[in-house]
């Protein structure tokens, strides 16, 4: 655990990307294979399963530290992180252990199979063997919430350096649903080729947000299409089987059985990139229609009828078993068109149509039409560009429509956690309905750190009532709330639920009697729901 804690320390002690990559690369060159494998797994979101409840952990820690539970809770409120609170309140360890990361993960697994008293004794003993950040990290593993400031791109870069391979190859190898139990370090990073696993997806290429299309240069270099509002998906047809992957690297084949029929029309050795959309036969349905299909493993028949899906296809990554990602977009697009042209309407595949334009002004107009086309903006792709890995600036841009907006007043505030502990960052907003204020959404983001500090000071002085961690505040502060979509929701008092709500602006200039009303919200629902 010492090596891993030292790595964590180096990552935590710098904000510079190069220093982080260097720290990771050093670690990947020297640590034992089993530890490296777990480190890659942890930093790519493959966590050990949580087997002990947070309640048990806090009870045991408070008891061991000789503190009443209320004082533990009080401390947790200040620290904002359960594992860190536990690591800090426990007395210093009486032992010191040299065991590596993989040992503690294995130990965790052993303990979770034991009855409660032995499990508790084992955890207390572990806490008593691990100092400082080792104890914090071990507890992080226990709580199943492991996040450090390392992006997948950064780790990929470090792995490429340490194993002397191109980044794209490493990124490809890390894709898929492997876990440290199903593979080894050698198999994951060294043996054979990334493509040996026939279900393994290619890394997704992601677009950056475009600020001004005038920055693009010559319009002739660019291809435009709609930015579809569904679920990004990669459909793989290989060796008589099909596999569907989400951008979050979840295998979602069984959730969208409609796409199985792609095999009837397309040859094997084909990989498509596109957007899964609920489809009414001619047009995309709203994201709301797709919502019930997300997060369920099996699909009831009724949903297949009310919200059938298609893959709105926009790129071809593999053809006849060949990886064609290095081929220029324009050529890939032509091959894709050739492949999909003439498919019957029952095929679950659509070709994302081009949006023709000659000038930047044409683009601006097309962007404004996005909502009526059932899209959330435009995508701009450089005609000469290869299919990249991860989010890279320059060749793919997304240009989203401006969000829907409403002016609302803050009525409740709650402190955040982690980096935002001790700051009020989670707010509930209300609109007017006659003389009443109706809460309709929460929002957490959109303000600067300085603004969060300012509002925190204000909340402290203008709290009307406390409900546990939630403060009811004087309804005075007005914010412009932006959101991407709206749907009717009987669960909510306001009757609506928003998609991606966030604070666009703090309206210091606007008094509370001028905020929007529930009727305005209903009008937006009627127009965009």
């Amino acid at each position: 655990m010492k090596d891993f804690a030292a790595l964590y320390g180096r990552l935590d002690q710098t904000t510079r990307t190069n220093a982080k990559v260097a720290a990771l690369a050093d670690y990947f060159r020297t640590a034992p294979d089993a530890d490296k494998l777990w480190t890659v797994a942890l930093f790519s979101g493959r966590r050990p399963r949580r087997t002990i409840t947070a309640t048990s952990l806090r009870d045991w820690a408070a008891e061991r530290a000789g503190l009443p539970l209320w004082l533990f809770e009080e401390s947790y409120g200040i620290v904002g992180d359960l594992s860190e609170t536990i690591a800090l309140i426990l007395p210093p360890p009486s032992k010191d252990s040299d065991q590596p990361l993989s040992y503690w993960i294995a130990r965790l697994r052993e303990l979770s199979a034991l009855p409660e008293p032995e499990r508790k004794a084992g955890i207390l003993d572990a806490w008593d063997s691990l100092p400082g950040s080792e104890r914090f990290l071990f507890t992080k593993l226990l709580t199943g919430s492991f996040r450090v400031g390392v992006s997948q791109t950064l780790m990929t870069k470090a792995l490429a350096q340490a194993t002397d391979q191109p980044e794209t190859e490493v990124a490809h190898r890390l894709m898929g649903d492997w876990t440290p139990e199903t593979t080894t370090w050698a198999r994951l990073l060294h043996e054979g080729e990334a493509r040996d696993d026939s279900a393994r997806p290619y890394p997704f290429y992601l677009a950056y947000q475009l600020e001004d299309p005038a920055d693009l240069g010559d319009p002739a270099d660019w291809f435009a299409e709609r930015k579809w509002d569904g679920i990004r998906g990669q459909l793989i047809l290989r060796e008589g089987k099909h596999h569907l992957w989400s951008r979050g690297e979840d295998l979602i084949t069984d959730r969208f059985p409609e796409l199985a029929r792609a095999i009837d029309w397309l040859p094997h050795g084909t990989v498509l990139d596109g957007e899964i959309l609920a489809w009414d036969g001619d047009h995309p349905m709203t994201f709301n229609a797709l919502q019930p299909r997300i997060g369920r493993k099996t699909v009831p028949k009724s949903l297949l009828t009310t919200a059938p899906v298609v893959l709105m296809t926009y790129d071809l990554l593999e053809q006849d078993g060949h990886d064609i990602r290095p081929v220029p977009f324009q050529d890939r697009r032509q091959r894709l068109e050739a492949l999909l042209t003439g498919l019957p309407p029952e095929a679950p595949l659509r070709l994302s149509p081009p949006v023709p334009f000659a000038t930047v002004d044409d683009l601006r107009e097309e962007r404004l039409r996005a909502r009526e086309e059932g899209a959330e903006g435009l995508m701009l792709k450089r005609r000469s560009s290869p299919y990249g890995t991860g989010r890279k600036k320059g060749d793919w841009w997304k240009w989203k429509v401006d969000p829907l907006t409403i002016d609302a007043v803050m009525v409740y505030a709650q402190a955040g956690s982690g980096r935002r502990a001790n700051l009020f960052t989670d707010f509930t907003f209300a609109v007017r309905n006659g003389n009443e204020l109706v809460p309709f959404t929460k929002a957490y983001s959109g303000l600067t750190d300085a603004e969060f500090r300012q509002i925190t000071a204000w909340v402290n002085k203008h709290t009307v009532q406390k409900f546990g961690p939630v403060r009811q505040v004087e309804p005075v502060q007005v914010f412009e709330i932006g959101f991407e979509g709206i749907q009717a929701s009987p669960r909510h008092k306001s009757g609506v639920a928003l998609r991606f709500p966030r604070m666009l602006r703090w309206r210091h200039d606007k008094p509370v009697n001028e905020i929007d009303t529930l009727d305005t919200l209903r009008e937006i629902l009627a127009a965009h729901g």
Binding site: S75, R419, A457
Partner: protein
Amino acid sequence: MNVLTFTDRGIYCPAGDFHIDPWRPVPRALLTHGHSDHARGGMDTYLSTDLAAPVIRHRLGPIRLDTIRYGEPRQIGGAKVSFHPAGHVPGSAQIRVEVGGEVWVVSGDYKVVDDGLSTPWEPVRCHAFISECTFGLPVFRWTPQEELRDQVNGWWAQNASEGRFSLLGAYSLGKAQRVMHLLDPSIGPILTHGAVEAVTQVLRDQGMPLPPTTRVTPDLDLKAHAGAMVIATPSALNSTWARKFGNASTAVASGWMALRGIRRRRGTDRGFVMSDHADWPGLNEAIRATGAEKVFVTHGYTAAFRRWLEEQGYDAGIVSTDYAGEEVLAHDEAPKDIIDEDAPGGAVA
């Protein structure tokens, strides 16, 4: 009758007709130390320890200031008063007030570990103890001084070997000098921000064992000092002043650095857990050592700490001040307060 009462001007002794660390003008002020939230201008007369006096004069200008040595008894009206080491910063004191055999002690700010510069804290037996509790939660447990020495010098040596400056934010009175005292001068030269140098010079003139430092002036040849340690006020770290050091590694020394969230929000490369206040074990040890049955808490997590003390069998109360008070979130109200733990009411830079 109470030996001390709590008024809207500060802690007051009716028998002696004086205030301790008052925040509004009063005829006679007794000061525990020179930090700006304890030592304010506008009082008719002042009394402080002889060791704290030079900094107080430096900060408040021409004032009527009388001094007293640690342990020296003095009769003020009907009260017997003496000052005792608080270990917070050089010259800082706890103030003992005895009226008719009843003894109350005002802790001021204090820490129980020896920082090598301040006269070490001593327990003073009393009936009632008025204790600060800036870090009155069990998550605060300080890194031992020896470990801090290794951490700070290790960080500096690493940066020096890469030719980078080490830019360290530390409060100008107390923390800055404590850091200097820990530094290994063989690693390189020590530079200071003007606000730090001014206080350091006052303390050096008093005979404090501080290493040589060079004030950063516009004409200083920075290239000739590559790899130096630069000690600045925490607020200077984010200013344009700091940019002249180029690709420097940055750090802050503060008790708040014990919390990862605050450390990350501060955005420096390193956060050294170094405080001039008592940590949780320190507070509990200090209160026990006074033998007091009655404890008043002030500055910090007062509500939680009071409840904890009551559960431990103490008769506990809260003294509110004119600062942010008991608010849990108070130290986030301004960025400087995250770092300037000694001055929740407003730092002197």
